[in-house]
Subunit: 473 residues, 2 copies
């Protein structure tokens, strides 16, 4: 197994300089061709992933569309060339006291990237998912470690990518899938000297173990891990008083979507006690009671979920507000919540905790005590704006995305999206794994000083966006 991985990584390394020397158009065409080949898998892909993930057809057809849309967005970003961050500070030969040299900057790809597919997005965050798409867009070869929960799906998609690589005349080593259970394959991949960055979506424990390997290699490499979040939802007083019932129903739908198996699942609700909150609870309880149980992705995820919910059921400070086949909602006082750090840990699945705050001040204090998050959501009306304005600086420091009057499940793939956030939401708060900036994870800047025109990278003569002396040309 480790020998296979070494050979695979060596092939990726051999493909790297060939791939990155291609024109940007060749990269964009590859990404688009991958989308075409995925669609060409047709019903076989949908049937396979349904069988392996227990997710329903409509969700998976949507996820396939999102996967292909992601590849298309990145193709357009590659063509636009802005990700290269081209800069030119022209020489000033007569500057005093010393001449200024000619300086140019561009971003180059880091090298082969290891990607760990996620269980909960067997298409969009897996073999041809966001990490793979953004690494290929950056100019990096990719070695994907298949998630053991969907091996056939992984092989089908890997076949589609291999066909796209072949059809576009690129070296076969540019992409590879490796498989295997246990920690050995992941360890071999992250510690391979040819691998220059890692993209990971998964459990906090697994992610931290791999992150430690990445950081203690002879040559440490960046590890982009998305680990855990409870995605606080704040119900501000006026919104709660006027729309408590609607908010309860909306919350129940977001909590149970996809059996709660989303990184952005709303696992924590904060509200100030009162009549509105009771209406919210009653409405959520009613909606949750009507939710059918959905099979979870894997027996391991189902068992961990059951353990987490059982521990909450036995917790002396928690009161069940709704406990049913489709999920679990508990209530807790702000004081009890703040005194037990375990209560702010994620339970992967449709489980949530409602924190009853006595006042706006108590609500603010709960926010201050939270770890980093992928999202934070405000439900508010105009009379709530002063409180929201007070909360925003805290929320910005806690989360990668702040939503108003929506639900965090559902991550739009767009230029302005951030799917990231302070630790432990991710291991690198300065990055996002979804959206236009995802490509930046796999790039580093190089400066060329007085390099003769004949040797300059071609991008400098292609009329791409370029800052001249810091100004847009």
């Amino acid at each position: 197994m480790s020998a296979d991985i070494a050979a695979t990584c060596a092939a990726a390394e051999a493909a790297f300089d060939i791939y990155r020397a291609q024109p940007l158009e060749a990269r964009a065409v590859l990404l688009e061709r991958i989308a075409t080949e995925i669609m060409a898998l047709g019903e076989e892909l949908i049937a396979t992933v349904m069988a392996e993930s227990h997710l329903p057809r409509a969700r998976l057809e949507g996820e396939r569309g999102r996967t292909c849309g992601q590849l298309g967005l990145l193709a357009s970003i590659v063509r636009a060339g802005r990700f290269l961050d081209l800069r030119h500070d022209p020489a000033q030969p007569s500057r005093q006291p010393a001449p200024r040299p000619d300086l140019r900057l561009r971003n180059i790809p880091l090298g082969p990237v290891a990607v760990f597919g996620a269980s909960n997005f067997p298409l969009a965050f897996s073999v041809a998912g966001g990490d793979t798409a953004s690494a290929l867009a950056a100019g990096c070869p990719v070695v994907v470690k298949a998630h053991p929960a969907h091996p056939q799906t992984s092989r089908l998609v890997a076949g589609a990518i291999a066909r796209a690589v072949s059809a576009t005349g690129l070296p076969a080593g540019l992409f590879a899938l490796v498989e295997g259970e246990g920690t050995e394959p992941g360890t071999a991949l992250v510690t391979n000297p040819h691998i220059k960055a890692v993209g990971f979506t998964g459990s906090r424990a697994g992610g931290l173990a791999l992150a430690a390997l990445a950081r203690t290699r002879p040559e440490p490499i960046p590890f982009y891990g998305e680990l855990s979040a409870v995605n606080p939802v704040l119900l501000l007083p006026h919104a709660l008083s006027t729309r408590g019932t609607a908010l309860g129903a909306g919350f129940a739908a977001s909590l149970t979507l996809g059996a709660g198996q989303f990184c952005t699942n709303p696992g924590l609700v904060l509200a100030i006690e009162g009549e509105g909150m009771e209406r919210f609870i009653a409405s959520a309880r009613a909606a949750l009671a009507g939710t059918a149980a959905q099979p979870m992705l894997t027996p391991g995820i189902a068992a961990a979920y059951e353990r987490g919910v059982a521990a909450r059921g036995a917790h002396k400070s928690l009161a069940p507000l709704a406990n049913f086949a489709g999920g679990a909602l508990f209530g807790v006082s702000a004081a009890d919540f703040s005194s037990d750090p375990h209560l702010s840990e994620e339970i992967f699945g449709p489980a949530a905790l409602l924190v009853r705050c006595a006042s706006a001040a108590e609500l603010c204090a709960v926010i201050e005590g939270l770890d980093g998050q992928l999202t934070a959501t405000l439900h508010m009306d105009e009379p709530d704006h002063p409180l929201a304005r007070m909360l925003l600086p805290s929320l910005e420091r806690k989360a990668g995305r702040i939503l108003a009057n929506g639900w965090p499940t559902g991550v739009e793939v767009a230029h302005a999206m951030v799917h990231g956030g302070p630790f432990p939401a991710t291991t690198e708060s300065r990055t996002t794994s979804v959206g236009g900036k995802a490509i930046e994870r796999f790039l580093r800047p190089v400066c060329y000083q007085d390099l003769p025109a004949a040797l300059l990278p071609e991008e400098f003569s292609q009329n791409l966006p370029c800052l001249i002396d810091g100004k847009a040309a």
Copy 2:
């Protein structure tokens, strides 16, 4: 000491939200005012830093100018607002199958930053140096750990910054200087929970120890360490044959500049054997013989340098080419160089190694075997371009800056500069500590989804550069 540092970091944290809420203009004015206050220190500053660093007046006056120039460049970058990376993907309420929300992105500062001043740039990489300037520009409070080699200089400059903070009406906690010998103050600073990033320039051992602390805190934080480099200089055959003598003199000047105490000092020369190389050696030897010994920055640096040179003198594979008061140049075969990894380690000071390559292929192999570097330099004429073209992909992967027909000492502060590179040159190859992109180290993106206009950050209504649906507006 640790209690003081805790109080200092708490004051920085208290200043953070106040500072980052200021308009960009206030940040720019602060940076400019710091430069003004540094210049107002006048002769007292120059005399103090001369006494503490043993560096000559002209160099220090130049370094002061560079320090103030850096503050000015960052002020202009703050005003331009491009560093915010504003993006807006407008809502598409009638999109099918689901509406698109309104998405906006901006970069926000990380929080209080710890900066470790360097010994070799008592002004430009110290208390008010590049790290401090780019952190303040990003919107982060700064706590500087003074380098023990220049305490009075550090206090004078810290006083200038404090006066600037006070004069611009900003909270005093925005900037602080902490002092102390040994590892305790640095450890207390890097592990303080209010500190959200670290900038460090110094020794590989010290940097790696602090980097490990930063990565294993309960909340890991980015550690931007610039550690070590030997900055290979490649003398290509045609250039060597036509200008070997001039290259030897130029090299000697770069090697001994500032007693060789630069991160970008050319500690490694690669050339293909022949008459040109012998002329280069003879010329370098003659120039070096005329170089006066300069006092080094600290007794510790001088002692480490002497030990390093003595070890080379005793090394069985090395031949002294020039050994003199002002520096040390040894020669080694490519095979011997490649067989001993210690020979590619930096000796901080005017010591260099010339690697005699038998062929272009051997030269390429030596490059392939090198660790990451801050710079790589090519001396070449037009007939050398084919070889240079072959080498460039390797050099790009090894170094943050590639120079043609110049010397790596001297780092222009400009938008397109990269002072960074793969490990161990730095701990984060995706960043630079000098130039326009240095500010990016202290920023992270936040997405605002459907946030009411009344609550949006002011920058979105200030006509700053903004990508609309990924396109420059």
